[in-house]
């Protein structure tokens, strides 16, 4: 494949997708993990609701809708349940963040080695190998996200856009009543939301390339790799962004399709469908999750491919440079007295 073709986003993306799809053991392992951690809050909800409704509601009367009366009368129980699941969810979210670091290492190890077989073993080895280095990327990611939020929703936006652009006084930043119409407000908030979405997308992309670079060069400095990745993305925006954009669109396409299907199934439930449709909903969700996990793996494959092409290999000192002799045998310093070669 020609170099130019290889850099083509579509080809890179399809290669990446094929590579990730071809490792079902890995993505099934990740999906299983995500299922297991998600069961906790769902189980808490199931147990609470089973207890709260036992003998008190006609069978199937709550299947279609949790009406206002139910929500209001059960508000204390629901609030306590919400608090508990929110806190449990926070711990699970932390676990998910760390698991994300682990999985990234696993995928990268598998795609960087260029060997085949024993994917799962290599995945876990890579996860463990790069884990702490990738954990160091995490606070940088969060900092960049916070900075994005500040740029788009904080002082810079308020001063540059609202104050200078629209004469909104500081006392009205929250309500924006100074503006002339709701349409103006909606457009501004739409732009804000789009900008923030773009920033988040770029930060996530930066994270992928930073981790890939750390693994590719086997270096330790997350900050240095992060700066270098940012520079690489800035220098090669099309080559770095395109494959990821294609993968994102693929993900969005299928997930939205499955979402629309799930929604129609849910509509059946609302209209008084059968309990088994819950299983269909669950299956649709799992299918979407599998697809998303595969595409996350594909993102790393794409990042590896692109990085190999545009990131210069790191210059390392050659350990054999001042010695003679190959690996496994005796080595002698060049110019030493002990060894000479006669022709």
């Amino acid at each position: 494949m020609a170099e130019a073709d290889r850099a083509d986003g579509r080809v890179v993306s399809l290669d990446a997708l094929r590579a990730a799809l071809g490792r079902p053991a890995i993505w099934l392992s990740i999906v299983m993990f995500e299922i297991v951690v998600s069961i906790g809050p769902a189980l808490a909800y199931f147990l609470w609701m089973s207890k709260a409704t036992a003998h008190r509601y006609a069978p199937s009367s709550l299947l279609a809708n949790l009406g206002e009366t139910f929500r209001f009368d059960q508000r204390e129980g629901l609030a306590a349940l919400g608090d508990a699941t929110g806190q449990m969810g926070a711990v699970l979210a932390l676990l998910a963040l760390l698991a994300g670091c682990f999985c990234a290492g696993g995928w990268l190890q598998v795609f960087l080695e260029r060997t085949h077989g024993e994917s799962v073993r290599r995945f876990f080895y890579g996860g463990a190998r790069w884990f702490w280095r990738f954990v160091r990327v995490l606070p940088l990611t969060l900092l960049l996200l916070a900075a994005s939020g500040w740029l788009v929703y904080g002082g810079p936006w308020n001063v540059l856009v609202l104050q200078f652009g629209f004469d909104v006084p500081a006392t009205d930043y929250a309500r924006l009543e100074t503006l002339g119409s709701e349409q103006t407000v909606v457009v501004l908030q739409f732009v804000q939301s789009a900008l923030y979405g773009l920033c988040v997308g770029l930060v996530l992309l930066w994270g992928d390339y930073t981790r890939t670079r750390l693994a590719l060069h086997d270096t330790n400095s997350a900050i240095w790799s992060g700066l270098a990745s940012a520079w690489t993305i800035a220098r090669h925006p099309l080559r770095t962004l395109r494959p990821h954009l294609v993968l994102f669109l693929l993900e969005a396409f299928l997930v939205t399709g499955l979402g629309l299907f799930a929604r129609s199934v849910e509509s059946d439930l609302v209209r008084g469908g059968k309990p088994w449709t819950t299983a269909v909903l669950c299956a649709a969700n799992l299918a979407a999750l599998v697809w998303r996990v595969i595409l996350r793996g594909a993102r790393y494959h794409a990042a590896v491919q692109v990085s190999r092409e545009i990131v210069r290999p790191i210059a390392r000192p050659d350990p054999w440079k001042k010695t003679l002799g190959g690996p496994g045998g005796p080595r002698y310093p060049i110019g030493g007295d002990e060894y000479a070669v006669s022709m």
Binding site: S50, T53, L63, G100, L145, E177, E182, L269, A284, L286
Partner: protein, 765 residues
Amino acid sequence: MRCILALVLLSVFVHAQNADDKPCRADYAIRARYEEDGRKLHGELTVRWTNESRDTVFDLWFHAYWNAFANSETTHMVGTGGTLRGGAVGDDEWGWQRILSVSVDDEDATSSLEWTSPDDQRPEDRTVFRVRLPQPARPGEVVSARVRWEARMPRLRRRTGYKDDFLFMAQWFPKLGVYESGNGWNCHQFHTSTEFFSNFGTYDVELDLPSEYQDHTGASGVQDGPTQGGRGRFSVRYAAPSDKDRERAERSGRSPLVHDFAWTADRHFVKYEDTFHYDEWAARFPDEVARVALALDRTQDEMRLRDVRVTVLLQPEHAVQGSRHFEATCTALFFYGLWWGEYPYEHITCVDPAWGGGAAGGMEYPTLFTAGTRMFTRTAMQQPESVTVHEAGHQFWYGLVANNEFEASWLDEGFNTFTQNDALWLRYGHSIATTNFANLPYDGVAIGRRPGGNALADALAGKKFELPWIGTLEPLRGSGFVDWWREQPLLTYGRQRTDPRESERSGYLLEPDADPIDMPAWLYCDSASYRSNSYRRTATALRSLQGLVGDARFLRGMRTYSDRWRYRHPYPQDFFNAFQEGAKADIGWYFESAFRSTATVDWRIAVEQKRVRPPRGFFPDTEGHWIERTPADAESAGDEDEDVADADVPTGTRWNTKVTVRRRGDLLLPLTLELNWDDGSSERMVWAREDQAHSTWWRPLDARAPTTRKLVSAKIDPDHRYAFDTDLTNNDWFEAVDRAAPLRWSERVFAQYLHGLHAWGGLGG
């Protein structure tokens, strides 16, 4: 203070009028000129006041409502804590009214003008003034008063004022209070949580405005003649009611009148016009027409309502919602008209306030009301449908049956909330709950709570960090598109539907027993109590009243009240009397309990059901010897073991069933209990009020009387007649356990966490 409170309460409780009393009448002719420079309004009015009371009157009392916005120390502003809509009033946002002169019957009475604060004696409050009449007005006499005033418009922070080019002028002219026989002038200050009260009459108003507003105005009544323009200004005349309406007699022989006048102008207004036709609506809801006709004992033809022209003045970005505002207005005109009597005017105007002028929204004036909407709403959200139906509905409760909104706000707000919910239900059904993503509403909500909730949890989830010196870091903030991607609502959200009638009870239960309903609005414990009692609790009480007396009698009672007090000013006792007469029900006890006490109630049911155990132990035989009976003997005798599965229970099995109903709370209402048995039979029994007075519990089924039938369900108040019950979770008992619903809703939580945690994982790698 306590004495004043007791006096006010006493006067309210005993306030019932002679049904033959005529209210006084006030006919206004007003000219006003608005100048944008300084936001000034100059006005001159002549009011012809007819003393229909039995008293000789020595003075006239006026409201000057805009003075509530004159400074931070007025009764209104002190009540709000010095803020309006949560924000401090800007230096250039205050408003006031200055009375330049008053003359009565061509005699100058300006020197007798005196500002007064009848409710709280605050000298800083100048929302009420009085002038002495040169000659006392005897019963039947007419007094003509001429008032010149100037005013500075307040920034629209509460109901009235300006926002940029949008003007909404309510309570904008010095307006007479209401003179009541034996009680004198009823002219309260402008409190935070009170509305308005004034006499019926006619309004002829001429407005002089900058030309940019030409053809972009609206007002109570109808425009009277073409606009006259020139030199950058124009003038427009309005008549309320219209001349045609004034000449049109209703079936009762009365001619329509109004009791207030509001106007609006905005050069951005987009106009939507259409006509309400009764026949079209009657064809859409024939069952309802038949039901009401039957209940009121009238023919279908007698139910017929007049056609009404509807004008909707919309902001440009809401222009696509014109037909929805129209439909909602027609919903009110049709159902309210059907139930409580015809809307008697030829025209009605619905105003959509400008952005930033939302404080004018959701308010009613005769033949004109303000709604309030936003972009991207859908009909199923019932936004703006619910507010539009509510405010249009005030044309009946407040507009036609014009109670004193200061002293009995619940007589219009509560009645209107009740009717609005019925009308919404009949026309629109359930409303949907939505979640906003970048201002776009999505039909559904997250069922489970998202990760986080307190500082530690938020930090653990990487959502928010409170850091010393730096402040708050918020890596995962809410933002439309990102939220959508993170939450995947198509896959994870659940849909939520709400019967609008259910919101009455949940609203009432937010503050169920702070005050009785029947209280002056400004004396409620706080704004939460005002909202609960004036709106939701009254609606709850009416719905329970409907359950108590039945649909038809309820309709007759309410219709008797609305017919009798049309174009008049009823007080609570007038409602109680009229309703009982119309419904032919002696239920004074209900009104005392539901409207004049803080009593609440929670009924609950407990059921214990066991198979009859085989007798064990020693039993005497015929000769007096003790014979031991073992379970094996019992089985051979046809009794069964406890462990036998339900499906294997032989026929003829006997059951010990104990049903206990308990009551917590002092509200006593006759309570129905329904028992459903496994043989398909069903029975109902009633726990009478009288019995409840002697006991807080009732045991209709006792375990000491075994039965061969097995109870499959037991329900308190099976027809859901009473919305007062503070906890409905314990009203029903079912032998079967619902396993599908917990699974169905926990699946949503599972899906939510599945995709949410996947998104979180993406941040790590």
